[in-house]
Amino acid sequence: MLRRPWTGLAARLATLVAVFGPGMITSNVDNDAGGIYTYSVCGARYGYRLLWILLPVTLALIVVQEMCARMGTVTGKGLADLIREEFGLRVTFLLMMLLLVTNLGNAAADFAGLASAFEVLGVSRWVAVPLGAIAIWWLIVFGTYKTAERVFLIACLVYFAYPISAFLAKPDWAEAVKATVTPSIPTDTAGFAMIVGIIGTTIAPWMQFYLQSSVVEAETRISDAKRVRLDVILGSIVAVLVAFFIVVACAATLHKTGLTEIRSGADAAAALAPLAGAAAKYLFAFGLAVASLFAACILPLSTAYSVCEGLGLEAGVNRRFKEAPEFYWLYTAIIVLSAGMILMPRIPLLEIILASQIGNGLLLPVVLVFMALLIRRRELMGEHVNGPVYNAVTWTTTVILVGLALAMVATSFSSA
């Protein structure tokens, strides 16, 4: 009667996962299909050259996530809630619509990741995507998400394949380290877009909403602040480390052999060949499928939740359909639309994925501005307002992102 559903090793792993905080979970979801492909493309196309971006991105990621966690802890309210209370309905509505569109792109990217994973295995997307969508929808509406989350987190161990593969590929470490500390900026549209995409996929706007809501949901207290900060910092570092090794693995395999344009999952899978040899494609497909499904579970849910929260509509999976119809319809619509997009004939999966991450990078500065304005309000945050370092990092990130976005647009016009 008291026995847990799992015993032995699985149970021990589950306990380990249970102590993961919101920061750690968010970081794991962060490396979704969008992340894996964006980092892969970066490594294949530019080799080690853009690795240096990951250092400032780590700093920004830690600062941004810590701000969210702190706001959630101090106010006990989600990010959308706070924006609504401080900036009114109209501003919130516009922001929520932007978030909805961007997140639709992200959800589509995850279904694209799912499709791509199964295509590597020779399974048609017409089978994989609808089945995946139905499974996800069913899981949230009727299943127990908490159990699924643990399974997903354990499956995320597959990310360790990248560091191992990266080491086995015998990369030019001297060059990799040098590239990590030497900024080098490409000056064409594609280059700017790549940088925006990397920032956007690592510090995705939806993550901030998701993280803050999780912190609130977990009833984090101010006395937990240290533990939460540690959780967020570790989570951010793990997320970027995974990104680092994906880039290095792709640089040392794909880029080195002259395969600079990834056109399919099979191309990207070759980065795991040093570890898995001929089985690389299975390993890659498994990892990509897990990452895609995990994110495709959380994204529509988090989006529907944020939008309803911001617009003052009832939300949450613990509400019945009748109590929160808008929430459930929105949730369903996001899944149907994003999965449907991937089923359109001749839709290019990789382009969808990359574009969605660039979309993240474009929305991010907007969200950052709201966060920076909220967290400086003393009546909201009391003594927990931002210090000068945090403010500097937030505003610098915002300015750089806006600059990159403008550079991207400007160069695309001049080259057109």
């Binding site: 006990g76 309210k77 809630d81 209370e85 509505f93 009833e219 207290r221 101010i222 509509l313």
Partner: protein, 407 residues
């Protein structure tokens, strides 16, 4: 019906027809529930006029006119017993005390009644949201027709519970309505509120009601609430709780805070809680309550029933089974209350008891406790120390809630 979304931004004209400013907010006398001042924005500055100075008020014609000789005054901010609708209510979380849930305000409906502009209800549905979003974008008439066609979800002002701005108490009527709610509903509301609102509501309730509500909340919420409260208030509230629940909550607090609250509690209550805190949380000692009724083995049935008359009301829900102790405080047996009620008053209470062989020791793990309950179909289980002294009892309630909330 007039909506706040239509009123905000309305141009205000003085008696000469000159533009005096725009409506920035409505201040409401919260006792009367009627608007008592217009807050205006005049060339970037905030000013105000009393409602009595308004000669005509017609949102349909997008026009507010002031009476002859009325002067625009400086705005001194809200005073006690007043609320500014835009600043304090719009977009905020309120409690729907009738529907017993937390909602967010999209719009506010008022009604012109004679000379007065009276608060009718707050709108929380789609119609209110659409009105807010499109106000000033499309024509007021079209907007009205559009919004009227949508689902209207309003909460009558009398059932609106909100945290009064700048003060540490909520409005009296809300307090009364909240106190009338079932503690479990109140607990749900606490869970849905933000940190500040939650704190205000808990401090507004009397310690007894607050303790009842908190008992029903998730453990993480309990700890969060108690940690955020003033030490003395927290102590008052925990004194009202059964010591085992108080110990559970305190056990989740940081050490310094825990000691501060214990020090602020009455010595007797604090002592009980301190003792309970020494047990591991998922052992029988951590689960049991030390606050219960026990009978002496040499009493008669009549004496026992007479003693029951004097028992504190809080203990009644856990009174199905009564432990008997001997002179030294050792557990002697258990007697079900139902059997006592049916028994002749003069007979010794021990004739209706069962010898308690099922009691557990304070160190028994939770699993063992549950197995006893399941195996012997128990409602309550006695807990003894290694010498057989009765230390406390575990009620099936405590076991159930631990099972449900997980490990």
């Amino acid at each position: 019906m007039v909506h706040l979304s239509e009123v905000l931004g309305l141009p205000v004209f003085d008696a000469d027809g000159a533009r005096a400013g725009r409506v920035d907010d409505l201040r409401v006398d919260s006792l009367r529930g009627a608007v008592d001042r217009l807050v205006l924005r005049v060339r970037g500055e905030v000013r105000s006029v009393p409602w009595s100075a308004v000669e005509s008020f017609s949102p349909e014609n997008r026009r507010v006119a002031l009476a002859e000789g009325s002067a625009v005054e400086d705005w001194r901010g809200a005073e006690p017993e007043t609320i500014c609708l835009k600043r304090d209510v719009l977009d905020r979380q309120i409690i729907d005390t009738q529907g017993r849930k937390v909602v967010r305000v999209n719009d506010i409906a008022l009604e012109i009644a004679g000379e007065k502009l009276v608060l009718k209800r707050v709108e929380v549905g789609l119609a209110g949201a659409v009105r807010r979003l499109l106000a000033g974008v499309i024509s007021p008439r079209l907007l009205r027709r559009l919004a009227d066609g949508l689902s209207q979800q309003g909460i009558p002002w009398d059932y609106v519970g909100m945290v009064e701005p700048g003060s540490t108490r909520i409005r009296l009527k809300v307090h009364q309505q909240l106190a009338k709610m079932h503690p479990a509903d109140l607990a749900d509301i606490l869970e849905d509120l933000g940190r500040v609102e939650r704190k205000e509501i808990v401090s507004a309730l009397d310690p007894e009601t607050a303790a009842l509500a908190l008992s029903e909340a998730e453990p993480s919420v309990q700890a969060a609430v108690v940690e955020a409260m003033h030490v003395d208030r927290a102590a008052d509230l925990l004194e009202e709780m059964p010591p085992d629940e108080a110990a559970d909550i305190l056990g989740d607090l940081p050490e310094a805070r825990l000691q501060a609250v214990l020090d602020a509690m009455e010595d007797e209550d604090a002592e009980e809680v301190r003792e309970l805190l020494t047990f591991k949380e998922d052992s029988a000692g951590g689960l049991m309550t030390t606050d219960f009724f026990q009978a002496k083995a040499d009493w008669t049935v009549g004496e026992t029933l007479a003693m029951l008359q004097k028992v504190d009301e809080d203990l009644l829900p856990d009174m199905d089974e009564i432990p008997l102790v001997d002179d030294e405080g050792k557990l002697f047996g258990i007697v079900p209350l139902v059997r006592l009620v049916r028994a002749p008053g003069g007979s010794p209470v021990t004739s209706f008891m069962r010898r308690e062989v099922r009691a557990v020791t304070t160190g028994a793990p939770f699993r063992e406790v549950v197995e006893r309950f399941e195996k012997y179909h128990l409602r309550a289980l006695a807990v003894v120390d290694e010498f057989g002294d009765l230390k406390g009892i575990i009620n099936i309630e405590d076991v159930l809630s631990r099972l449900v909330t997980g490990d």
